[in-house]
Amino acid sequence: MSTTTAVAASGLRQFAVLAARNLRQARAGRSVGLTVVFPLTFFAGFMVVFQRLMSDYGIAYEQFLPPAIVVQTTALVAMSACYMIAGDARSGLISRYRTLPMSAVVVPLARLVVDAARAAVAVAVILIAAVLVGFRFTAGAAGAAGFVVLAVGFAVVLAAGCAALGLGARDPEQVYSALTLPYLVLTTVSTAFVPVDAFPGWLQPVVEVSPFSAQVDALRALSTEGADERVWPALVWLVVLGLLFGLAAARSFRRSR
């Protein structure tokens, strides 16, 4: 057997190698398809049921709803990230990575870059469907670009949190179904589907501080009037959650129990 001397592997190469592998995993799992089917069905159903009702209240639902569907999709992308990384944890692959000379951030980062790509594709699919039923970016190209960047950024931040959970989990199915409840609560108890004043008074403060409301409101601003003060809460949430979840993911990888 020939001698193969180990050279110090650069983090960048490790990142690229793992990202390529994760992309392949995502494609093999048809993960984009699975993350858009549910939101698209939801979109169609809500449009059929509520469009006329909402127009009675002066809300153009074809313009109001798509940002909510986009948020729903990005949350599902994040949840499937948890599922995939928990699968790698179960197969022992993550443990093997942990015995290799790798920086703690490489594995989570290689996960997140692929999640960003998946989110971008999923968001594009939703937007195409939205435009078909009358959704428009009335604030121009800059608003549209901001919309996509913010949506993908939100997906990545949520995916970081989900990756942190998934790295510690042993059962992908279990952790995925455990995430379903917070997903349903966070998307419904927010301004995603109805305006804040449609909620009972005691619930309104909760709806107002929800990061999901902040995200949906910012996306609505970017698709209509363009970047205004409604974008700030979303950006603050993005940075805070990004730091928190990013740290959690790196720690979760290099956790010495």
Binding site: T4, R13, P101
Partner: protein
Amino acid sequence: MSQELIQVSDLRRSFGATAAVDGVSFEVAAGEVVGLLGPNGAGKTTTIHCLTTLLKPDSGTARVAGFDVATQGAEVRRSIAVTGQFAALDELLTGRENLVLFGRLLGLGRQPAAARADELIARFDLGEVAGKAVRTYSGGLRRRLDLAASLVVDRPVLILDEPTTGLDPRSRRALWEVVRELRDGGTAVLLTTQYLEEADQLAGRVLLIDHGRVAAEGTPDELKRQLGGAVCEVRIEDPRARAVAAEQLGAVFEGLTEDEDVLRLAAGSGTLTEVVRRLESAGVEADDVTVRRPTLDEVFLSLTGSVDAEKAVDVDAAGAGR
């Protein structure tokens, strides 16, 4: 640097109230194979996890290639090759792609990683399946690929956690051959096993681990002697014939014991023929005469002080047979 590539001193690690590793000390030198032998739950894997930086020790020290596992994790990880208890492979990729992936992660360029993968495929006899997805592999194939994956780059220390569990005899022997080669090349090898035979075949030194402690330590031969070696058992159902046989054999062999209808004595070379000859000349017909080596069960029972030979299982069942 010291030639002792693994130095473990009074290592302790608990999970809640359970002390999984309870004061283990040992060393492994370059060019040496040391086996941790013990039943499930003895603390073998926890020890391995501490050495591979997957777990932090509660107290005590462990140094690998001179680096402290608690404070110099990155350096330790650069010095070890690890094969865990369960094949840690990418199910999605083919066998060859797995080897290339790990080569690339360990810093090999595209070409060297591919060349090394082909070399390992040949070495581990994986040629026929190298192009197939790992999820289609049998357990034995996975173990082989898993070991190959941990040998993609040369490391001074090789750590194997039950490397041959679930392997067929041929693959097991092939793996032993690889381990011996690496040892001869100067690698320090630490392996855990549940099989006495495997420890016997591979390890220069064996540590018997039980309840998180080192119950006994020595070369395989020393341990076997310590455990009393082989046992000759003569079963005679007729009590009168048994009494005659006991008298006859007791005159020649020391330490004869009687246990219901079985006479038991320590067996050396020639014991069996001598026993049969003595019984014949005394005109006693035995119902059964056997010689067997102590089983792994007996090893641990004797070490934990509760020998119950009646429950001892067949030699081969414990993997102690040849």
